[in-house]
């Protein structure tokens, strides 16, 4: 019917614009698994942010190192206490705060480095690209954990800031590879040629045409990167070279109970569970983001 076509055309014009970004968000929210992941992560982040209000005790307080140590979970201490009589629930809550913060900050550092390095290498091309990629191969050939162990063992009593920096500094190699590949592909996209034909400067092409089209792979890499850093930090803290005492992180809570892991089971179980949950949810979300933005 001609009348109907007219109508639908009119409404489609009136429809508010929807950016590719918004479409992606809609696609993500359609999946129940990613809705759950977003909700759970939201709760964990909120708990971390509100730690001082939620935690029942001071996470560093040692009220009675003889009478209150190694208590199993009870109403007063739902997650039990540790060998120094500290409340494990409070430590896990503060641990969430610190572990997430380290994860996010370290990822920001790696993102900045990875995107800059990859974009320059891909955009410059030629000899510069070849040299930068060989250098990257060299970096990639050193295992990340080994690199971190070396630094942290040689440099005990490192501040949290330095820890974040080192985690970030060792985490950008893979990302810069991805970014370089994308930039190479975008460089030859016809809309970039069109921009060059219009007389756009290199800076404009990078800023307006290349970087905005890198956002989705970067977001995916960032989500997965945070999960990776959380596990890495826990591992380092478990080895006693990560987050220094008396600060609490999920890794060093587990470490505090590691001597008697069979009897003090609550010390490994609760922070461990929370960490697994966080990492799992981040990975689900990362996969959902990839599905939403990288299909075309």
């Amino acid at each position: 019917m001609p009348g109907q076509t007219q109508d639908s055309a009119a409404t489609s014009v009136a429809r508010p614009r929807e950016s590719p970004l918004a479409i992606g968000v809609r696609r993500i929210l359609r999946k129940p698994s990613s809705r759950v992941a977003l909700f759970v992560l939201g709760v964990i982040v909120l708990v971390g942010i509100l730690a001082p209000l939620i935690a029942p005790y001071d996470p560093a307080a040692q009220p009675d190192i003889v009478a209150l140590k190694d208590l199993p979970p009870s109403l007063a201490h739902p997650f039990g206490t540790d060998p120094y009589s500290r409340d494990v629930l409070s430590r896990v809550i503060y641990g969430a705060r610190l572990s997430l913060m380290i994860g996010v900050l370290a990822t920001i550092v790696s993102l900045t480095l990875g995107v800059a390095y990859g974009a320059i290498s891909g955009y410059a091309g030629g000899v510069v690209d070849a040299l930068m990629m060989r250098l990257l191969d060299a970096f990639l050939s050193i295992p990340r954990l080994l690199l971190l162990l070396g630094v942290l063992v040689a440099w005990p009593r490192l501040s949290i800031g330095a820890l974040v920096l080192f985690l970030g500094l060792t985490g950008w190699f893979g990302l810069s590879r991805i970014v370089r590949g994308q930039v190479l592909a975008l460089k030859h996209a016809e809309f970039v040629t069109a921009a060059r034909a219009l007389g756009a400067s290199r800076r404009r092409i990078l800023g307006r045409h290349v970087l905005p089209n890198l956002v989705s792979p970067i977001v995916v890499a960032a989500t997965l990167g945070v999960a990776h850093v959380i596990v890495l930090e826990a591992g380092l803290s478990y080895l006693g070279i990560g987050v220094p005492q008396p600060l609490a992180s999920w890794g060093n809570i587990i470490q505090d109970g590691s001597d008697q892991i069979a009897t003090l089971w609550w010390m490994a179980l609760f922070p461990g569970l929370l960490m697994v949950l966080t990492v799992m949810m981040l990975n689900i979300l990362g996969e959902a983001l990839r599905d939403a933005y990288e299909r075309r």
């Binding site: 590719p20 069109a194 307006r208």
Partner: protein, 360 residues
């Protein structure tokens, strides 16, 4: 160079001996082991207000020629003059100014629009770069451009994925028009579209040409499309222009055997017409290692073809007034029979025009 130089000042663009070679590199040290001669000694002029059609199979160098003229690809050698100015020696800032005069429309309606930008932002980019308009004035100009290409002004705040191929092509045209150019390279602008939409876009291009006094270089692989829009047509094969004539002459009397074969393949909309086809033998040879002499000789059907064709590079010469072709066996030719015999020729040049090639 014997190329039609009608009236020096009437020429908007003149291209002389243009070459573009892409190096083939191998090994760890990226040693150059050869070169793809994508554009191999091409010369032509484009007059103000004219449409020069460029046809040829894919890989014959027509796209590279178009992009080299705009210096989107740097030529290896040759001369490009636009309104008398030497395009190849221009500095970055001079070139940026030239971008206002020379634009391009792309083949692929999908990859030629940035998926992260609204239609308005895409069309406005040229205005911003060349500081032609900003704010409300720019908005008004974008609206007008959209209307000119047959789209609603409201589309300005929508994204490319919401449009069909034909609409996207119109957006690409509006983008090219935004800077008010004199010359537009249309790089197969309708090849990716449905036939019905092709006609609309071609009509739009013709209307715009009239209203804005545009000069087109219209690249296509479809001879019937070019017949409709072009004043003159250059036929390219393996990086060379092998025939150049007015559209009328070319379709009525194709002189180069390659053009004859192409034209015999154009379908005719008449069920009663029994048309013979000249079937080309084999594939297009590799442009990295083109045949000696005439690059078309391995596939040629000219009855006088002989050893001379494999030895002598045929010049693009004027066969009849304004009609240029590169074939030493198609008389008249400047390559004398003596020369041909010395190169192993046994068949003297003759006039050859198979009926199948004549396009009514």
């Amino acid at each position: 160079m014997n190329v039609p130089v009608a009236n020096e000042s009437a020429q908007l663009l003149s291209v002389r001996n243009l070459r573009k070679e892409f190096p083939i590199r191998k090994g760890v040290l990226s040693r150059q082991v050869g070169a793809v001669k994508a554009v191999n000694d091409v010369s032509f002029d484009v007059a103000r207000g004219e449409t020069l059609g460029v046809v040829g199979e894919s890989g014959c160098g027509k796209t590279t020629t178009g992009r080299t003229i705009l210096r989107l690809i740097e030529p290896t050698s040759g001369e490009i003059r636009f309104e008398g100015r030497d395009v190849r020696s221009m500095s970055t800032s001079q070139l940026r100014k030239l971008r206002r005069d020379m634009q391009i429309i792309f083949q692929d309606p999908v990859s030629s629009l940035n998926p992260r930008m609204t239609i308005g932002a895409i069309i406005r980019e040229g205005l911003t770069i060349h500081k032609l308009a900003e704010g409300a004035a720019a908005d008004a100009r974008v609206s007008r451009l959209l209307q000119e290409v047959g789209l609603r002004p409201e589309y300005a705040n929508r994204y490319p994925h919401e449009f069909s191929g034909g609409q996207r092509q119109r957006i690409g045209i509006a983008r090219a028009l935004s800077v008010d150019p004199k010359f537009i390279v249309c790089d197969e602008p309708v090849s990716a579209l449905d036939v019905s939409v092709q006609a609309q876009v071609i009509n739009l291009l013709e209307d715009l040409q009239r209203e804005h006094n545009l000069t087109y270089m219209f690249i296509a692989h479809d001879l019937s499309v070019v017949e409709h829009i072009a004043d003159r047509v250059a036929v390219m094969y393996l990086g060379k222009v092998v025939e150049l004539a007015t559209a009328e002459d070319l379709y009525r009397e194709p002189l180069m055997p390659y053009t004859q074969a192409l034209l015999s393949a154009v379908p005719v909309a008449d069920p009663k017409a029994r048309k013979e086809r000249i079937i080309l033998q084999g594939d297009v040879p590799s442009p990295a290692n083109p045949p000696s002499g005439c690059v078309f000789h391995p596939r040629c059907h000219h009855p006088s073809k002989d050893a001379a064709c494999t030895a002598i590079v045929p010049p693009l010469e004027e066969k009849t007034p304004g009609h240029f072709a590169a074939c030493i066996k198609q008389s008249p030719t400047t390559v004398s029979w003596e020369q041909q015999k010395n190169a192993g020729g046994v068949n003297p040049p003759e006039r050859y025009l198979p009926l199948a090639a004549v396009h009514a």
